[in-house]
Symmetry: C2
Subunit: 359 residues, 2 copies
Amino acid sequence: MPDLAGGTIPGMDGAAGRRGRRTSGPTLHDVAREAGVSVATASRAFNGSSTRNVKPEYISRVLAAAERIGYQPHLSAQAIALGSTRTAALVVSDIDDPYFSSIAAGVITAAQAQRLIPTVAIADRSPDRELQIVRTLRGQRPRVIIIAGSRIDGSGTDGALSEELEAYQAAGGRVVLVSQEGLPFSTVAIDNGGGARALAEALVGRGYRRFGVLCAAPAIRTSHDRCGGFLAGLAAAGVPDPTVVETAFTRAGGYDATHELLRGGRPTVDAVVAVNDVMAIGAMTAIRDAGLVPGRDVGVAGFDDISWCADLDPALSTVAVPLHEVGVTAMRLALGDDRGVRVVPVATSVVLRDSTPPR
Amino acid sequence: MPDLAGGTIPGMDGAAGRRGRRTSGPTLHDVAREAGVSVATASRAFNGSSTRNVKPEYISRVLAAAERIGYQPHLSAQAIALGSTRTAALVVSDIDDPYFSSIAAGVITAAQAQRLIPTVAIADRSPDRELQIVRTLRGQRPRVIIIAGSRIDGSGTDGALSEELEAYQAAGGRVVLVSQEGLPFSTVAIDNGGGARALAEALVGRGYRRFGVLCAAPAIRTSHDRCGGFLAGLAAAGVPDPTVVETAFTRAGGYDATHELLRGGRPTVDAVVAVNDVMAIGAMTAIRDAGLVPGRDVGVAGFDDISWCADLDPALSTVAVPLHEVGVTAMRLALGDDRGVRVVPVATSVVLRDSTPPR
DNA sequence: TACGCCCTGGAAAACGTATTCCAACACGTT
DNA sequence: AACGTGTTGGAATACGTTTTCCAGGGCGTA
């Protein structure tokens, strides 16, 4: 097919590429030609190379030409030439969960502030998926990879994941984990244990004694830590062992477990405490469906302080985690000069509202 | 500033690249060498080029070599060679808002299913920011750009935005807008007007007559359409004109406006209807803060049916929008064969719950 | 046995940008 | 006026991949 030279059908393909290749948009060559300078000069005009000056007149001429033909530098080409991209990868379990979307908001905002392009992947709460994602992520050559999942201990993929991340780091990448201490990478460590412990003390202080604790599979680190902290707090306060129910780490899990807990008709617990807010919200609905009034008949508390806790009725008692800040911190940690593993603690604070009135 | 190359101290950089350039990870060359074949063959071994076969033995040898040295193809380099990337860009106003995070979940999931890399940008509800984002997005050369913002009419940037997107499309990109009819691009059109109209009829059917309508600035298209639809529905039902209050398109806006509306002590309206759920949630809280009971004293309704509507007390009446599906549809539309502008309608449906009991 | 064809591997070019190296030039000093 | 120095533009090369083009080998047919 020696069609080239556009001789065939000169209509249609207008600005299309030299060799029939569908080239997308004007290139630096085009700008240079338009401005009457060399590509080298054009390139320098944009990102004024250190150690080199380009005559102001040329700069403005190049900039004008670029503006005129609508040039935008090809980021992939830059990445190739420079040897490093300007993308930052974020892996979350489920972007539709307010816990993750708040963290994501922080990460993305921080990334944009650094002129980085944030990419986000959803792992669907599956360690296998997470591993697979990280693997393909490496092809992207992002500057940083931030993983805000629910670390699952002993999931079998941990070794492979570490290995993958290790290789990524060896190639110059930066890894930051959110709330997943235990793997050998920099981490934003949410004080889950301490917060849960403080919550236990606060609730005992308000007169609660018989607790139903809703936690997820013990392999889910976050749940494990929160649950453990809460139990420790109870023990320290000399309160008898609570009823611990294991369920899914979701709103539905909270609903189901509470439904089960309340089966007998009259409640056997003073309060239901869930390891996160969405579970607690499910619990509140289950309490209502059982014909009881959350807060009055059964106290309810969660964890995270997602944004609409205060808009519930009764407003939900919880442990506040500065999620947005967690995201920003993760990004800052990833971009910091400090190579090597660092753990940045993030404090949590108990917020008592009407869902756990004094009793 | 970029770390002025460790070139001075020759120690340190171990596995670094040939010319001191900080090369990230093994390349196809390395794989080829390791497998004892040429780069061409190695490349073909991975993505078995059409019109070419490579001997099975070589394929497995290459794959084994790649596995051994932990090779991942450099996506930027592929993008350069192929002339097109595998990224899909999503622009949202605020990822922390459940409306957008649900749509984002749909878009991202659909993108991943197509092995595309989703990038997301946050426009912070600012048209200027949005324009700026789209501009820099073009440098990314994404296959598709999906914009789920709150189109703001007459914001002054509309022309420039269209121009930018037009240029992007001309270069082979695909643009899809979510719920922003009016611009000359393919759109997933949420039936805001129809849904609002149906809501009006349903509420009138339940006995409500005096409405307080909370909408945002008329320039915000979504708000405008919903508000207009609701008023039309009321008019059609022969109900007297409601009190329309203009406020911010957020939870705080809903709260403030309702607070104002209820100032006189005894409510002058039967129901408060907000143009989205987060505003309605703010309204419910304001109603409570005024010493009234939402649902019983004042009906409340929203729009979107974000996930926790049913967990509120009273459960929030609203107009359901299949947000996840909207995201998926946007992606499908973007990837479809069909060039040219298409508008895919998405139906909405009224969901009456306890926040608007029969009156 | 010779010819031609299909098949497959390798060398080289291309993608768009940044940068190194070289040449040309202006300017100040002697 | 000659020389050195500092500055600036342009050609060429590199980045990692895909793809084209070319050459060599195996095989069937005449």
